[in-house]
């Protein structure tokens, strides 16, 4: 509760220095929500953001081998740079249609 309030304030004060992460399907179920914000760090790549995310939420590790990533709605490689303010989506194997 205190943490949630603190994070919210942090994001509010420092607009643009966080990364929004989106979760879907099995990953959203495992995490219990569909969206969170992580502080951005200089030189961030998809991989480094993902590393920090997995450290904070180890229950997501098992999804990692089959994950794809989308940055601002475009598929990217794990080595792609993540600018502050970007939206990173974790894409488990799709099954639409």
């Amino acid at each position: 509760m205190g943490l949630a309030r603190k994070r919210q304030r942090h994001v509010g004060y420092n607009q643009g220095v966080s990364v929004t992460i989106l979760f879907f399907a099995s990953i959203a179920d495992a995490l219990g929500h569909r969206r969170l914000e992580l502080p951005s760090a200089p030189g961030d790549t998809v991989e480094s953001v993902c590393d920090r995310l997995m450290t904070a939420h180890p229950q997501l590790e098992r999804f990692r081998p089959t994950l794809l990533f989308a940055l601002d709605e475009e598929y990217v490689k794990p080595s792609a740079p993540v600018p502050a303010g970007a939206t990173l989506a974790l894409i488990p194997p799709v099954s639409g249609g």
Partner: protein
């Protein structure tokens, strides 16, 4: 080009009207419907999740690519999300072309690409359980998409 991710039921007549022109001798329509069984298991219903804004973006890219590749005149691609009952339509595509061969080939290619690339996910719900399906055709289980940054 009609592209839409929606919770509302999909309307075939709307999709056909969106692609019909007087230059089109052929219109092909594909419905992906909720089947009552999968891999030998009885399905009760499905739940679709999506990343709607990106799904529409990818659907539009695939449709543009199909138009160029197969010389299609127009495409409509609609995907429904949320809870779908047996027999309901989750995916609706319509393509128009001068002649029939392109309409069948273009339509088939379009469905295959949608199943590989569009961020939509299906949860099967059975009488005794449920599971998110990891699409065996997903490029996430196969290879990175071409031209990825």
């Amino acid at each position: 080009m009609l592209i839409r991710v929606t919770e509302a039921p999909l309307d075939i007549a709307e999709a056909v009207a969106a692609v019909e022109t007087n230059a089109a001798g052929a219109v092909n329509v594909f419905l992906g419907n909720v089947r009552d069984n999968n891999l030998g298991r009885r399905v009760d219903h499905l739940v679709y999740d999506a990343y709607p804004s990106m799904a529409e973006k990818v659907m539009r890219e695939i449709a543009e690519e199909a138009k160029a590749r197969f010389g299609l005149l127009d495409c409509a691609v609609l995907h429904r999300t949320g809870r779908l009952e047996l027999g309901e339509t989750s995916l609706l595509i319509a393509v128009s072309s001068g002649h029939r061969a392109e309409s069948f080939e273009g339509g088939h290619w379009l469905v295959n690409q949608i199943k590989k690339r569009v961020p939509v996910w299906k949860k099967e719900v059975w009488e005794d359980g449920e599971a998110w399906i990891e699409g065996p055709e997903s490029m996430g289980l196969q290879q990175a998409p071409a031209g990825m940054r």
